[in-house]
Symmetry: C2
Subunit: 140 residues, 2 copies
Amino acid sequence: MEPRISIITLGVADVARSTRFYRDGLGFETAMASEGYAVFRTGGTRLAIYPLDKLAEDVAPGITPAKGFGGITLAHNVRKKDEVASVLQLAEKAGGKIVKTPQDVFWGGYSGYFSDPDGYLWEVAWGPDFKFDDNGALVI
Amino acid sequence: MEPRISIITLGVADVARSTRFYRDGLGFETAMASEGYAVFRTGGTRLAIYPLDKLAEDVAPGITPAKGFGGITLAHNVRKKDEVASVLQLAEKAGGKIVKTPQDVFWGGYSGYFSDPDGYLWEVAWGPDFKFDDNGALVI
């Protein structure tokens, strides 16, 4: 098995709302999009949105989505410390919520969290030791 | 905001157990690892594991993890159709569960699902139109 995550899919309540959030709000280009789903051209791993009930059905019969924090976070690492605040503001303007304001964190970095329209959590993080390759992926 | 997911973090019940699953079972190389967390060198976007209660605490006070399907799936796309079954078998041997056996799916591909020791869901998918770049990322 090659060590690879090809696609992350978020099960959403309203594909049109989430498309507006990610495409128009955050500026993620759509690689594929229809009324029923969208795939965003995020570097390396693609981000997809799909109706939550259909995603549950796709996994297996009888799977019921839970309410609340599902235990997964996505992190968007930035190159400069002051980008943490500006990305959080962008997300709020796009219809997301700032869940944790930017702050110094125990591992020596600076970060905050926003939630998307379905409550999925993104950490926006800067750290003095993070380096990026030419594609923007972390070099660690 | 650059269109990028830097890290996906799974909140887990037992870091050692999950490290064995991903590192020893699936063969994902660790970029960083300690008793308290691990980061795996997955192409482009990194996969991290961290104790679930600490991850919830990191997001914000008062966030309680929900039980059950959290609404997010990860997909591992393979280059050949018969790799779907072999990756699912690898995951089962590593301590995961096959949640959906390999089958033809409505969009023209062939896929199945496994869950990791905490129940996080991975789709293993092959499709006739998927193409990969030199790093194994999808070209879509």
